[in-house]
């Protein structure tokens, strides 16, 4: 069972311990605990979604380090279109479209022309960073951002209800549906089976009549759509504006979380929430004015936490076997 879901025993233990801590804090001080967990969700969700981009790509055998650039470009187009058209829905649509187009370029470079996948991702990142800084205009605003609301019944659930289902925007809630949906897609559907086969041994998929190129192209572009969605999400909902290099390395953090979550959507989601919680906690510590520790160390907390966790779990991770390799028929 553990092997089935690619969960390691120590991950399970970690989960149980954290749950215990959560329950303890919840009993000790419900309000603060709730608000920390909720803001952990807000920090973690974009990272979780960005990790989904990585999962979609790598599960089908394409390493995508261009998530950063994809989000940057989509946030940019999404925000300025929303600002220009005074319509945030249009903005989000354009953000998603930008994500798809960007990943299409990535897919063409890596899958069709069999370019080195790391270089292709780097090109996307450099291009995105250059274009968005060059075209950046100060002072634009969007008409409104999405309302924050509670989900009626779910929000009332004791213990978890407040953290997951209250005080969030629509995109946040959508993420809560999207991630399990990707998990179901990956492990329960025909497409998911083929995707994993292509990412592990493209030869076996090819000999079974599955088009390796098609599966990879579609997965990478679907990943791009999610990347665009996150970019739009950050600029239109979470922050409400576009600033230069707003992604600030979160595309790479997402890749680390993907590895931490062992290329499993739910695993990466858990990892991202954990990271978000660490971030929320460090913010909380700042608010409480913990002054005997320099501020810099407190902001470092989530990153140190990730590095430690990754270092502990590294060596045991097992990426999809064909990730990073382009597929040549003749060598089947």
């Amino acid at each position: 069972m553990l092997k089935r879901f690619n969960i390691k025993p120590w991950q399970l233990i970690l989960g149980v311990v954290l749950l215990g801590v959560w329950i303890y804090c919840y009993i000790a001080n419900t309000d603060i605990t709730n608000s920390v967990v909720a803001s952990g969700m807000r920090f973690g969700m974009p990272l979780a979604l960005a990790a989904m981009v990585g999962i979609m790509c790598e599960r089908s055998g394409v390493i995508n380090i261009g998530i950063e650039g994809t989000m940057l470009l989509s946030g940019f187009t999404g925000f300025y279109i929303a600002s220009w058209s005074k319509n945030i829905v249009a903005g989000l649509m354009i953000a998603i479209l930008t994500g798809i187009l960007t990943s299409f370029v990535h897919a063409m470079m890596t899958i069709q022309w069999k370019m080195d996948q790391i270089i292709a991702g780097t090109i996307i990142n450099i291009l995105a960073s250059g274009l968005t800084s060059f075209l950046y205009k100060q002072g634009s605003t969007i008409p409104n951002s999405w309302p924050i609301f509670d989900i009626p019944i779910l929000g009332q659930i004791p213990f978890i209800g407040h953290a997951f289902f209250t005080q969030q925007g629509p995109i946040q809630y959508l993420g809560l549906i999207l991630i399990p949906a990707i998990w179901v897609m990956m492990y329960k559907t025909r497409w998911g089976l083929r995707t994993r086969a292509v990412g592990e041994n493209p030869g076996s998929a090819d000999t079974a009549g599955v088009s390796v190129i098609k599966v990879r192209m579609i997965n990478v572009m679907f990943g791009g759509a999610i990347g665009g969605f996150v970019g739009g999400f950050i600029c239109l909902e979470l922050v409400g504006s576009f600033s230069k290099e707003f992604t600030a390395g979160s595309g790479f953090t997402a890749l680390a979380l993907m590895i931490f979550g062992r290329w499993n959507p739910m695993g990466a989601f858990a990892a991202a929430i954990l990271f978000g919680l660490a971030q929320a906690l460090s913010t909380q510590l700042q608010i409480f004015g913990v002054t005997n520790i320099p501020n810099q160390f407190i902001t470092m907390l989530p990153y140190v936490f990730t590095i430690v966790v990754l270092a502990v779990s590294a060596g045991k991770v097992r990426p999809p076997a064909a990730a990073g390799k382009s597929y040549e028929k003749e060598q089947a």
Partner: protein, 502 residues
């Protein structure tokens, strides 16, 4: 009558080799055609073209009167072609069921119906008498079982043409008999069969027609009635081949490999080898006979430091060899020809020359003061490629470009040229053509005569019988009998292998 499969003037070149040169073949409904040829003759390339895995340079492929698009596997499958691949096309981290259904999954809407899939696999495996555990993960299974999965995959769909690329290389004699029976039944029901093998008795047993390739060209067609095994071998190799092994008596000396009270677990942590003791003397070949899956693989891996020894010791020339340290064991003078050449024998992306020096690249003369000497490596590689007749345009090519049998020759060449005290040879001639089998057997015997202790593990009972000076029969992780090679009787050994007491 319209032929089921018609290949016309097909040619295919790879850099430096013409793998197929103007080949025309027909296969009719219900006909079993055996495709023979030396390693690297172009058999796999030809059938891969039919299945759309290789795009031919010229020529046409027609199935049931319809010309098929070159290089389109999905189209070949649609036209009713099924293929069993020489190199397994399985996903190691997936279950048996998932591997078998891949590409045409039982489903409801977009969802795979796992239960239906599982039942289908169980029924399929029962129908053809090829037993598999549907829930096992492929990476945990021995090659013999993986081969069964490959065969089941091909038989799952309603096919008109079945291509089998060396399906019997890793099967036990009993499984081979069953496979041949399946093939006969399929042919009787009208399926055309194109069958590649290096085992001539299989050809004699089932083929209606035999087509022989040499150096990419079609050199002849015959039928089992018109010829015999010697005749087929001669057609393939173009010279006389001695199919029986000639060897002098062994001059066994001191014990070179001493295994004492060895216990090993398999991948599922079940006991595979229990309190096993055995001595192999310098100058003798000790063959281990046994049905696959009776602990031979685990035994070999434990000896070679690739698997943890739960109890017991392995001594090489009197000194204890380290546990779980393949390199350490190798440095004590143990050569190992692993049963799975793809996984444990080669680094496919490395050149042939690098593969030939894989376990000595850092030693003299291939490295001097920590700097590699490529000239020394190339000279050595050049010599071995010629000596072992490894068919390749250049030893600089990657190992992945070699044909299956030639990959095996690379491993054998590397391991048999190091003057080791102990040679552990697991399935040394798997997938190798008759001419090369003769050669490898001679090499093993001359290693023995040179004073090496040879531990031979093979699923081929004939190979064990003809090479071994002593035979240890293994059953259920233990030795049930040790008999003299000279007076071993095929029936008797067979009964011991099946766990009967003689």
């Amino acid at each position: 009558m319209e032929a089921l499969l018609r290949i016309e003037h097909l040619s295919k070149s790879f850099p430096g080799v013409k793998a197929n040169d103007d080949i025309s073949i027909e296969v009719h409904k219900g006909e079993i055609v055996a495709l023979l040829g030396e390693n690297g003759a172009g058999k796999s390339t030809l059938v891969k073209s039919v299945f759309g895995l290789v795009k031919p340079d010229s020529g046409t492929i027609t199935i049931k009167g319809e010309e098929i698009e070159p290089g389109d596997t999905a189209a070949a499958i649609r036209h009713g072609v099924g293929m069993v691949h020489q190199h397994f096309q399985l996903v190691p981290v997936m279950s048996v069921v998932e591997n078998i259904i891949l590409g045409d999954e039982p489903h409801k809407g977009v969802f795979v119906t796992k239960k239906a899939a599982r039942e289908e696999v169980i029924a399929l495996s029962a129908r053809y008498g090829l037993e598999v555990d549907p829930d096992a993960f492929v990476e945990d299974l021995p090659v013999g079982i993986q081969q069964r999965i490959e065969i089941l995959k091909a038989l799952r769909k309603d096919i008109d043409l079945l291509i089998l690329d060396e399906p019997s290389a890793v099967l036990t004699p009993h499984e081979i008999d069953e496979l041949l029976e399946v093939i006969r039944k399929l042919a009787a029901s009208g399926v055309g069969i194109l069958f590649i093998t290096h085992k001539l008795h299989e050809v004699m047993a089932v083929a209606d027609r035999v087509v022989v390739l040499r150096n990419g060209k079609l050199v002849g067609t015959t039928t089992p009635k018109e010829t015999n095994e010697e005749g087929l071998a001669q057609m393939m190799v173009g010279r006389n081949v001695v199919l029986s092994v000639e060897k002098g008596p062994a001059r066994a000396k001191e014990v070179a490999l001493e295994i004492k009270d060895l216990s090993v677990k398999d991948d599922r942590h079940l006991d595979a080898v229990t309190h096993f003791s055995l001595e192999v003397r310098a100058g003798e070949i000790l063959g281990i006979a046994g049905v696959e899956g009776n602990g031979q693989r685990e035994l070999v891996e434990a000896i070679c430091g690739m698997r943890h020894r739960q109890t017991g010791t392995v001594k090489v020339s009197g000194k204890e060899s380290p546990d779980m340290d393949p390199r350490g064991v190798h440095l004590m003078g143990v050569s190992h020809i692993p049963e799975d050449r793809e996984k444990d024998g080669l680094v496919s992306s490395y050149s042939i020359a690098d593969n030939l020096t894989l376990n000595q690249f850092n030693l003299k003369p291939f490295s001097v003061k920590g700097i590699r000497d490529f000239n020394a490596r190339d000279e050595y590689a050049d010599r071995l490629v010629k000596e072992f007749d490894i068919r390749t345009p250049s030893f600089q090519n990657s190992a992945s470009s070699l044909s299956g049998g030639n990959k095996q020759k690379v491993v054998v060449a590397r391991e048999l040229t190091q003057n080791s005290h102990v040679i552990v040879a697991s399935q040394p001639t798997r997938g190798v053509d008759v001419g090369s089998i003769e050669f490898i057997h001679k090499q093993l015997i001359s290693a023995r005569d040179g004073g090496a202790a040879v531990l031979l593990v093979s699923a081929e009972l004939d190979e064990i019988l003809s090479l071994s000076d002593r035979i240890a029969v293994m059953f259920g992780g233990k030795i049930v009998a040790i008999i003299d090679g000279q007076d071993a009787d095929r029936q008797y050994v067979g009964r011991l292998m099946a766990g009967l007491s003689g």
